[in-house]
Every structure is written in structure tokens, then in C-alpha cells.
Symmetry: C2
Subunit: 403 residues, 2 copies
């Protein structure tokens, strides 16, 4: 008898019919003889509706009270799901974040899990209960309610799996796994059977938002196998997110695209060393996320800097740079738009220098210019004109995934 | 600086505008220099809607999970009200039942308050916060969520006032006080300035449902002055519920009416002593509330019993009595319908034997027959034909209140 953790997201529990559908997945694992712990999100649009009501009161809600408000969503789901299982003749018991408790940091709206008390879970499992837990929420040391931020229920599920020493964590969602690229662009998109934690981290930070980053990080740290599966398909193998060692020898896992990227270039008056630090700390203080950075060397050593940002941040970025241009000794600010960032991700990149060459060759053959390049152990990203982005995605998917 | 507890019911906090309206009452007390503790119910129809969704799942919800579900209503209200006060520039902090905690018995759906920890409330008051508490809810010794049943937020408010040693407890509602009778029947109904706890208990158990019985019991036990006031009228004196000593010399406080009463008469085969006990324990086991009981004496000593029940329980009562008639040695079961119970309530009854005589005389003068009579220290109830009930109510109100 092993412990299995299952997580069901908001669309999987959106109404009574869907709650009973979720029960099938739970009962199936339970009838196999497993101890089953279930983590759920708020139903459908519940949280959005609470936030809409909150906005009627204030555009700047007190963060502590905001967490008190939005945490009710999961509390509704756990009680209802326990009732559904009860109705079907199974013993089920629900626990909120504070009841375990799940202790977090005090950063309201974006708290991190510090500790999960497993006593009640283990006792209830031993008594034959299916245990239903509220995702997304916890309490801090002062017993104030906290929430974990976007995708927080995934994090709860994998963290619970980690502290219980669970066999696996099944993340049920409305897609049936992790795909090699965007199915809206690529016809022959491939569902991945396995992917490493690191690749998953790169994929999810690149817009293929299937799993929350922090949940993957915890999975990696405690080596919890995470299965991404469909709630709505009867037999779904899904995608297994696991450690690198157990992976099949798949060179490249995915090809991703992120649109609406702007390249900013700063021409400096001098080659003062501290300029980069100052520019990026000003932008960071204003929550502007800078992605790829490149610096020209050679003749203009340290004088010019280019970096990419999302177009939504362009106006604010230019305002800030202009405001500080004197202090930063900037002669000229240029912005080029609009680009897309195309990335290939795979553990095969690090061990195979031919991957980079093949990428550049494929783009060249398709007459696609690169405007910035960034590389890591398992990822290569390039900026291309947004008009060429789909062609680039198709060509690279054909080369690395279908080929 | 004294502590003032204010309670606002569901209709008083039903939407954003009403929440801001409630803030006016709170701020007014706060600006007087008082420490203010506010207890709130769920907004408007929130609890009803949750129960409707629950009924989609099961008609027999697990009681523990039911309390997990319905307790979210007050949690939504406390966070929103704290945000409203925050928006208006006042420091406010919310606490759920478990956060204090409010410890109750484990009877889900009808728990009783055992203890309220005042540490967080007192600390927050000292720090200048207005403290907002969720009514209706608590936790038991196992940290399971409990609810206090119908009108439970009133009970929370008066219990909080008791443990804090508050100066008073203001119960804001959608009526502006306690009235001498039903304004739908009596034109010259009189708003009471003061009423004793005991009279209030009799009034509320007789259908004038302004305050929850248990809240009045706690108020009496700890001698907390309770003011019943209107949320929606600017200057409302309301009604003060207080101890007997401080009352003006008002003989009779109220005249009430309860319709749809049936009188059951059991004719026994013998005069066995235990029959009364058995009849009423069978009915009690089936949650049938027996009200007035009378027994014939004289020739038929102990043979015949009459009692009144609500008409909604008639079918079940007759089924039970027929089922056990052999065992109970009952010869005949008669049911007479439909009656109304008319009651007069007042601390003047005990000290003035003329009140009873005046009641009987008034009914006689109006040609109204009495079919059962029941008396207590502060109440006299009679059954009259339902067709005559409004006439009886008007005649008695004129005699005892207007006269």
C-alpha cells in the first residue's frame, strides 16, 4: 500500500457533475489499495468572482484580508468533494490549510510553504479515509491565512507528496499531458511521455503553462514523480515529469514561442562598469522583467547594452530609462519591435554541440534572421521577427521533434 | 474607553453599498473613543446558495463537511468589511472562528460555545484596530469546524461581549426594535424601549423572532445590555434587553400569536401512571415539539391527556400514536384543528393576579372561547379558534398595551 497524491484544478471541479467525475479517478486509485490524498483548487470561476466583488470595494485590497477572502474557494471545493465521495459510499474527510496546518512564509498572495504537519493526514488515512486537502492556502506563524499565488495548488500537491513520501503525484488538468510545442501552430505536435524536471521548468517559464514552476522545483528536490494527466479522458497516460536519469534518450523535448518581445538598445556615453547593474536594478525595482541580455564588446567595450522585454512593459521602461538617462550616462535609447522568442528545450543540448549548429542552419535555410541569442545547458532561445515566428517554430519542430 | 460589540446580520451586509453603510455605524462608535468589536453574518443569500449547491450533491450531507462548507459565508463578509474600513482610512483586522479560537461542542450544525480566547482581540484593540469577527462559527476540541445553528451570529456577538466584559452589545437588524405585537395585525403596535431577558425569551420562542434564544440566555447570564437596532435608520433608539431590576413598570410587554395549532386528545383505557411519560418520549424521539399539555382529573383521573402540536407534525404524530396505541393502552385518539395560540408576556403577570382575570374577561366580552390554557410567571397562553385569532390579538393588545 503506497500513498498517492492527486491534484484536480479549477476546471476539473467546476460543477457537481465534474466533482462526481473526479470521484472516479479517486476511487480507482483507492480501490487499487492505495492511500489516496487529494488536493483541489477553487471551483471554476469562484476565485475570479470573489476578486470581482473585492474590486467593487477597493482596487488596493489589504493583502492579509485578500487572502482571507480568496481562500474560501478551496474550502468550498473540499467539503463538496468529501460529500460526493460520502454519497458514493466512500469515507472522506476534508482539511483546510490551517487545519493540518500548512505553515508558510508571511508573504500574502505569494507565500512559500515552510512545513506541512502530516499527523492528521496519516491518522485519517490509517482510519480508511480518503483525505481531501485545500490547495493554494496555508497559514503563517501568526496564524494569518496566506495563499501561494498562481498555480499554488500544484505546489501544495507536490509538497504534500514530498512530506508524505508518496509514490507519485498525479496532476489532473484539462490537457492530457505536456506537448512538444503549441498545437495551435504545429499540426504534428507530439505528446511527451517523459520529461525531466529541468526541461519542465524551462518549458513552463516559456509560456507552456502546464505546471507551476515551484511545484516542479519541489518535485525535483524531493524526487517525486509527477504525472500530468487529463481529468476528462478515460485512459490518459499523460506525461511523467521525473529526474534526468530515468529519461529516454530524447534530445529535444519541446519548441516554444513567446510573442510581443521588444529589444531595447542603450548606447552609452562612456564605458563605466556599473551601468548594467544600475539599469537592471531600476527595472527590477519597478517589476519589469528583463529576459535576454547582450552586450557589445570589441571597439565599444561596455558601452552598449541590448536586452529584451515584453511589449506590455515598453512604455514604463522607456519612461524610466529617460528619467535616469543623465545619471546613467546614456547617449541614446533605441527600441526595436516586434520580435518573438523561439526556444528549443532538451537535456540533449548540453551533451550535443551539434544541436546549436542544427538550429542556426535550420533558421538560415528558412531565411529567418536571428536578432538575439541566449543559451543555457538545456535551452537555446533566439529572437526572430514576429512575422516569421510561426515559420521558425514549424521548421524547428520538424527538424528536432518530428525528424 | 469601553468595549462595544456590534453585530450585523445578513441583510445588513448583503452587498458592497450595505457594507459601506455598516461602516458608518462602526466608525461612529470608534470615533466616540470606544474599542469596537464587530460580529457579522454571511452576506444576504450566500448561505442559502451554498446549501442549494450542496443539495445538488446530496440530500443527506455529512454534517462535518456541511459546516466546512457553510462557514465560508462569514469568512467572505469579515474580509470584505475589513477592506471597506481600510478603504475609509480605518485600521481593521478580521478573525475567523478558528483563529481566535472560539471553542464549541462537537454538535455540527447546532454547536454551543464553550470558550472564546480573547488574546488576539485584546491585542488588536490595543493596537488601534477595529476587530471584525465571523459569527455563527467555531471549532471543536479536534479543530473541526462547527456552526452554531440558526441565529448563531447573535449568540457569537453576545458571547464575545460577555468574555470581553463589554459595555453593551448592539444587534443591528432590519427592524428597529422589539414590538408589542405583530404589526401586520395590530395597527397601534408599540415599540418597546426596554424589555427583560425573560420576557425576550418568551417573545422570541413565541414567533416574534428578533433575537436568537441562546443569545438572550447568555446576555442574561452575564448581564450584558443588548440593544436591538435598525441598520438602515439613521437615529434608532431600538429596544434595550436588560435585567429585570432596571425596567420601567410595564405590566405587559407583548401580545403574540402562533397559528396552525392542533389539539390532540388521548382517551386512555385505564389510569396507568406511566402513559404520559411514554407518549411524550416517543414524540420527543421523533423531534415532535409538544407545547401545551393538560390532563383531565376528577372522574377520569389520569385517563385522558390533551396536548397541542403544530399542524405540520400532525400526520407523523397520528402515525406514531396509532402504532403505539396498543402498548400505550389508548382507547381513542382525537384531533381538533385548527387553533391559534395567543399569549401575553410581561413581568407584571407574576405580581398581579388581576392580569389573568382581565385576560379571561376580555376574551369573554369578545365572545372568544378558550380551548386550552397554559400559564407561567411571565406568560399566559390560550388556544382559540384560528378564525378568531386576529380578533383576540387585537382585543388583548388594546386591553394590555394600548389601554
Amino acid at each position: 500500500m503506497g500513498i498517492v497524491v492527486q491534484k484536480f484544478g479549477g476546471s476539473s471541479v467546476a460543477n457537481t457533475d465534474k466533482l462526481f467525475n473526479v470521484c472516479k479517478h479517486i476511487i480507482k486509485e483507492y480501490e487499487k489499495g492505495n492511500y489516496v490524498v487529494v488536493v483541489v483548487s477553487a471551483q471554476g470561476k469562484t476565485t475570479d468572482e470573489l476578486i470581482k466583488e473585492e474590486q467593487e470595494i477597493t482596487k488596493m485590497p489589504n493583502k492579509r484580508e485578500h487572502d482571507v477572502l480568496v481562500s474560501v474557494g478551496e474550502q468550498i471545493t473540499i467539503s463538496k468533494l468529501a460529500m460526493c465521495l460520502d454519497k458514493l459510499g466512500y469515507k472522506a474527510i476534508s482539511y483546510t490549510g490551517w487545519q493540518l496546518p500548512i505553515i508558510t512564509t508571511s508573504v500574502h498572495g505569494n507565500a512559500r510553504v515552510k512545513n506541512i504537519d502530516t499527523e492528521k493526514i496519516n491518522n485519517s488515512l490509517q482510519e480508511g479515509y480518503i483525505v481531501i486537502l485545500a490547495g493554494f492556502q496555508g497559514i503563517d506563524e501568526q496564524q494569518d491565512i496566506t495563499t501561494l499565488g498562481r498555480g499554488g495548488s500544484d505546489t501544495t500537491a507536490v509538497a504534500v507528496a514530498a512530506v508524505l513520501g508518496a509514490e507519485k503525484c498525479d496532476i489532473y488538468t484539462d490537457v492530457d499531458g505536456v506537448y512538444s510545442s503549441d498545437p495551435r501552430v504545429i499540426r504534428d505536435v507530439k505528446k511527451l511521455n517523459k520529461i525531466s524536471y529541468d526541461e519542465m521548468l524551462e518549458l513552463s517559464s516559456l509560456g507552456a503553462k502546464v505546471l507551476h514552476n515551484r511545484c516542479v522545483e519541489i518535485g525535483k528536490k524531493y524526487d517525486i514523480p509527477i504525472y500530468v494527466k487529463s481529468t476528462f479522458e478515460k485512459e490518459s497516460d499523460g506525461t511523467l515529469v521525473t529526474s534526468q536519469e530515468s529519461l529516454e534518450d530524447l534530445s529535444i523535448s519541446g519548441v516554444t514561442k513567446e510573442d510581443n518581445i521588444v529589444r531595447i538598445t542603450l548606447i552609452g556615453k562612456d564605458n563605466k562598469i556599473g551601468r548594467i547593474y544600475k539599469v537592471f536594478s531600476i527595472l527590477a525595482d519597478n517589476d519589469i522583467n528583463v529576459d535576454i541580455i547582450s552586450q557589445s564588446f570589441g571597439e565599444h567595450i561596455c558601452k552598449d547594452i541590448s536586452f529584451s522585454i515584453n511589449e506590455k512593459d515598453l512604455v514604463e521602461t522607456l519612461e524610466l530609462l529617460n528619467k535616469y538617462s543623465e545619471e546613467l550616462n546614456i547617449k541614446e535609447i533605441k527600441d526595436d519591435k516586434l520580435y518573438s522568442k523561439i526556444s528549443i528545450i532538451g537535456i540533449g543540448i548540453a551533451n550535443n554541440p551539434k544541436v546549436k549548429a542544427a538550429l542556426f542552419e535550420t533558421l538560415y535555410e528558412n531565411n529567418i534572421n536571428m536578432h538575439m541569442i541566449s543559451t543555457s545547458e538545456i535551452k537555446i532561445s533566439v529572437l526572430v521577427n514576429m512575422t516569421m515566428a510561426d515559420s521558425a517554430l514549424k521548421a524547428l519542430h520538424k527538424k528536432f521533434i518530428e525528424g
